[in-house]
Amino acid sequence: MKSIRNLRINYIYYFFTFLFFLLAARIIFLQFFRKELLKNLAQSQYWSLIPLEGRRGKIFDRDGRLLASSMYSYSVFVDPALIENPSQVISCLSSKLNILPSEIASKISAKKRFVWIKRKISLKEKEEIKALKLKGVGFIREQKRYYPQENLASTVLGIVDIDNKGLDGIELSYDNYLRSKQGWFKVLQDSRQKKVFLSSQIITPKDGADIVLTIDAQIQYFAEKYLFETIKKFSAKEGSIIVMDANSGEILALANYPSFNPNKRTLNANYRNYAIVDMFEPGSIFKIVTLIAAIEKNIFKDDDKIFCENGEFKIPGSTLHDWKPYGFLTFREVFKKSSNIGVAKIANKLGAKILYENIKRLGFGHKTGIDLKGEVLGKVKPPANWSKTSSYIIPIGQEISVTLIQLVRAFAVVANGGYLVKPHLVKKIYSPFFTKEIQPEREKILPTRLTERAKDILISVVEDGTGVLAKIDGFKVGGKTGTAQQFDPKIGQYSPTEYRASFIGFVSDYEPTFVIGVSIYAPKTSHFGGVVAAPLFKKVAEKTLMYFESKNLFRKNNKQNEDN
């Protein structure tokens, strides 16, 4: 009996010893062979990484006025699994955020642990919702882009998407510079997920670089204001205006109508930058090519007479008309009075090859290289593809497509003494780590004596030619008007009602020399460039001159004070 009892006790003893060794083996296994895995698992429960967002770079105008910046805002999300009272959550969020209850209900019923309700709400909305202490509703702090000047220069600045990535304009072209780099901060978190800042491990975020544009916000305002007034006065469909420094290619203003408010984006707003993405037949403005080619070849003197067929000239396949019948006109008068027949005859004497060379030399058919995405080349047919009519009508600005920026650049060649400049919108990019100044790029393509003669003829266009309404008292203004019929693809021919009225001009003998290009599409009450576009040029130029004068006055006075 005693031996049986002892045996049982021994069996139990051995059994428990075996269990003990099993346990010990398991502990040793976990401690030695699963050490790293378990350590990481434990650490992931009590260590957390907080992302630190850098700020997207700011955009300023040339005088330091803020055009675009970033601020923090909150986005609302829900965790459907944590919602206790769905109807309460739906009604509260719907009333505070102005969203349909059905929309919120469908999001709450999703089988996910994270659902966005609304991105980037105002601080007031966030505080109101937070005060309700709704379970399952949370906020994430994000950056939101805002534009303090609202509509001003909106087509130049462009827009960003919901994640602050550039979509258009400067925001897109310089997205690599403007974008910030995220940093991280390692923190301890307790069992209630409260953060304890104990670690010194931090990766500092990098803010995006700031950009200074060549745009002058005050000139931009003048351009936009008077463009809008002109569009309304003539009931036009759309229009653009560019103000550019002829010597450096710096764009002082670039305005389009219609435009948009980047702070309140809507689906049907216009985001198109017509000045660089729309190509059109320029009409009489294009006569500058024939003017320059003729002066260079020195075939005509200013007083040489050309017979303008009394307003009707038969050409192969068509008939050319002048807006007013002329008999004999001098070489100068042909451009002053914008005679199509006169220019066609001059161009024919020069020949297609010379004309084409000058078209290309003045930058048509090439991108200008402006620092905005979406610029188009325009359409220039090579001489091999010219028909018998082409050599008569291309010089008067038909059968050729150009953009407004190309026209402005071509006129800048005359205004600045023969340099083809590269238009650009950015002056400087800077951050705590680097500064990059954009240097003007230009190439001498015409001798100064040639451009002086061309300038003189263009001044006569404004003095007593078709551009008389662009005259400014006390200043010598040169330019060219353009009134071009637009091709209507619906009827397969030039529209009898839709015109493009343009004027490109410059103020001569003034520093800084600036060129202003205006193009108005489909004006109704009048369609002449001299009537629609030239007065707009005059208003913007006058305001710009007054603005420069007042700036110079302050600059002069400051200098005097420093000398004293």
């Binding site: 923090y72 805002y146 000047q149 001003l152 304890v196 800042f197 104990l198 005050q218 006075n557 004293n564």
Partner: protein, 120 residues
């Protein structure tokens, strides 16, 4: 005597451990406060951003220009600049001379402070 020694050592050890644990806890308390201040700091940043945004909306350049036009302000012209109490070069030179003369007098008649050794 031995008992007293043990008691004193025990007290010292207890105090040492107490201060060590206190220090550890203080670090964690500071960590929590830092976290709280970080979120408070963010809140103030948010309020500041919204104030700046609202302010910028109200005084944007187009709004200032509209106000200027409404109030009929005109640009400054050369012939309309006024200077009040302009100082000529002569007046400025006279003032400078007076100031420098005062200092010259002071320098001549005030005894320079010398070190004790030099004075001896």
């Amino acid at each position: 005597m031995k008992k007293k020694k043990y008691l004193i050592s025990a007290i010292f050890i207890f105090l040492a451990i107490f201060f060590y644990v206190h220090q550890k806890v203080q670090i964690y308390v500071e960590g929590y406060n830092l976290a709280k201040n970080y979120y408070l700091y963010n809140e103030y940043i948010d309020r500041r951003d919204y104030l700046v945004y609202n302010f910028a909306q109200r005084i944007s350049l187009p709004k200032i220009n509209e106000w200027v036009e409404k109030e009929n302000f005109s640009s400054i012209k050369k012939d309309k600049v006024l200077a009040l109490q302009p100082k000529t070069k002569d007046t400025l030179n006279k003032q400078e001379n007076m100031v420098s003369a005062k200092y010259n007098v002071k320098i001549k008649f005030v005894t320079p402070i010398a070190l004790a050794k030099e004075q001896e």
